[in-house]
Symmetry: C2
Subunit: 334 residues, 2 copies
């Protein structure tokens, strides 16, 4: 059976250090077809783009053939590290092999004649939460992505905050302690050195060093330890693991109180591996945030799990970015 | 000589704990006439409002008579502590004698049939900077007001950030040290306990306690000490006074780096008494902010003195609020 009207779709692309995920997404957030491509195997960005685009066309055509449903690509959203929304560039991204400033949007335009939007991955996650997730209808909220590092996207008055240079929302690099843990950015004591999958590993090792408490984690080398192992140990009652979550939630809660004093969001969504530890991370974070809030903000700000957690949020976020852009430019006239 | 066309004006009202200042302001930011009224002498808010409004009518009529120029009041902007923009209320303001939640805008509407906007004084200062001052044409900036406390107004995408509850932008209450100085808000270590006219006094006393350095400030009782005296002593080479500014600028610079990681402003304006110490406060603030910025933000963010510093900025800010509101609602059709 063939439908007479092609269905409008956007293409969401999430560029990670290791893999690039991409998919074609309809207005309701259904990923119709998706695939991945290793990011690093291509010696140049040009070759990477050639492979990416041939693979996109392939899944596009395969899906049309298989489903009998014609699609119409109307926009592309891209999430990438160190992405600049205004300039459409990826700039000095430490996890990518492309040097300097890459005019990524311009290069993509060689392949596609539709609007193309680029922003950092956490900003894309925030737009995804707004379009498809728990932030539908919210005008002021924050998304914190907890992965290897800590990313963030701020929404104010219903719009993503890009700042004057396109780089706003780097809460992973607000300072917890100017003499604290060394950060990949070259500075010390950044929030993501405490609050992230890597941060909680460092905290476990600090606790193992400072205290004599026995712990199953004393048998695990640093390089083998994962946030998931820490949450499993905590569920089995391991006191070091429990204390590591408490410590992580305390620092996150204290810093989110400062974020509330900036933009007074209605909700803060936590996304990613650490957030899947559920109450282990949410309870201490909420408690310490409340304890540190100015009285006018108390008992108003919800800390919630992202509603995109079990889905391919990165692809959804990137595609949502395209829908949002088309909408705000009045190009969605269906 | 009488002009045939009445000149459109807005009324700016700044409600302080001690005095209320108000004035009639034209579109270019000229205060045509202004006056003040003690805030606290009236036992109730109703009586205060009656006096305020009779005095407003008086200066209005006097000015028309004196200048021969008819005016047309088209809007009112009000800056007040603990003001809620969305609800038009002043809520539990510690420096005012009116208890609980005062529906201030509603009460004013009993006197004037024009649009009335209320927000906190630092937000009004930010709008003033945008409409009449150094932030003309800027879409992303921050204003920090340094008085007895520290107030702030954040502008993102050309709009003031109110947050979901109308209370965004309380940077005076982000935390420098959770075990630090006691704050009037009931918490500890808030930024304004370090960075404000009162904060630098506390810093001088801490330095006098910690070090043996001789200083002219050793002869001044705490209650007599002013930020102006500290800046004068610093200019005379007093090392304790100089170190107090360095300490203040360090803490402000560190925290502004965190603010940049939130909204990435193009400029940060400092306003108020402490800002008048010029390079004594600007140099260390700029230096420490730069040292604490994530690399993508370095050498981009200007720290500037407010351009409304010598003017009646509070009245201008409040009146600018009204102009901005009229403009955004499409009510300025000239």
């Amino acid at each position: 059976m063939t439908h007479p009207q092609p269905i409008p779709v956007t293409l969401g692309i999430d560029i990670g250090g290791t893999n690039t995920a991409f998919g074609l997404v309809d207005r309701l957030g259904n990923i119709l077809t998706e695939s991945t491509l290793p990011t690093k195997v291509h010696p140049t960005c040009e070759e990477y783009l050639r492979s990416l685009n041939s693979k996109i066309r392939q899944i596009y055509n395969d899906h049309e053939k298989k489903s009998g449903q014609k699609m119409r690509l109307i926009g592309i959203g891209i999430g990438a590290p160190n992405a600049n929304y205004y300039r459409g560039t990826i700039e000095y991204a430490p996890n990518l092999t492309w040097p300097g400033v890459v005019p990524f949007v311009e290069m993509m335009k060689g392949y596609f004649d539709v609007p193309i939007v680029l922003t950092n991955d956490a900003n894309a996650a925030a737009v995804g939460e707004m379009v498809y997730g728990g932030a539908k209808g919210l005008k002021n909220f924050v998304v914190i992505t907890l992965g290897t590092g800590l990313g963030s996207g701020l929404v104010v008055n219903g719009e993503l905050v890009y700042g004057h240079d396109g780089f706003a929302g780097e809460l992973g690099h607000i300072t917890v302690n100017p003499d604290g843990r060394h950060c990949g950015c070259g500075r010390k004591g950044c929030l993501e050195t405490y609050v992230s999958a890597t941060g909680i590993k460092r905290t476990v090792y600090k606790l193992l060093a400072d205290f004599n408490e026995s712990s199953e984690l004393r048998n695990v080398p640093f390089n083998d330890l994962t946030a998931y192992m820490i949450s499993e140990a905590a569920r089995r009652g391991d006191r070091v693991a429990i204390e590591a979550f408490e410590y992580t939630g305390r620092i996150l809660g204290q810093k989110l109180a400062d974020t509330v004093a900036h933009t007074s969001p209605e909700a803060i969504f936590l996304f990613g591996g650490l957030a899947q530890a559920n109450e282990l991370i949410f309870y201490p974070t909420q408690r310490h945030m409340e304890a540190n809030l100015l009285n006018i903000y108390k008992n108003k700000v919800k800390i919630l799990p992202s509603e995109l957690m079990d889905k391919n949020a990165a692809v959804l976020g990137a595609s949502a970015l395209a829908w949002k852009e088309l909408e705000s430019e009045g190009l969605l006239l269906e």
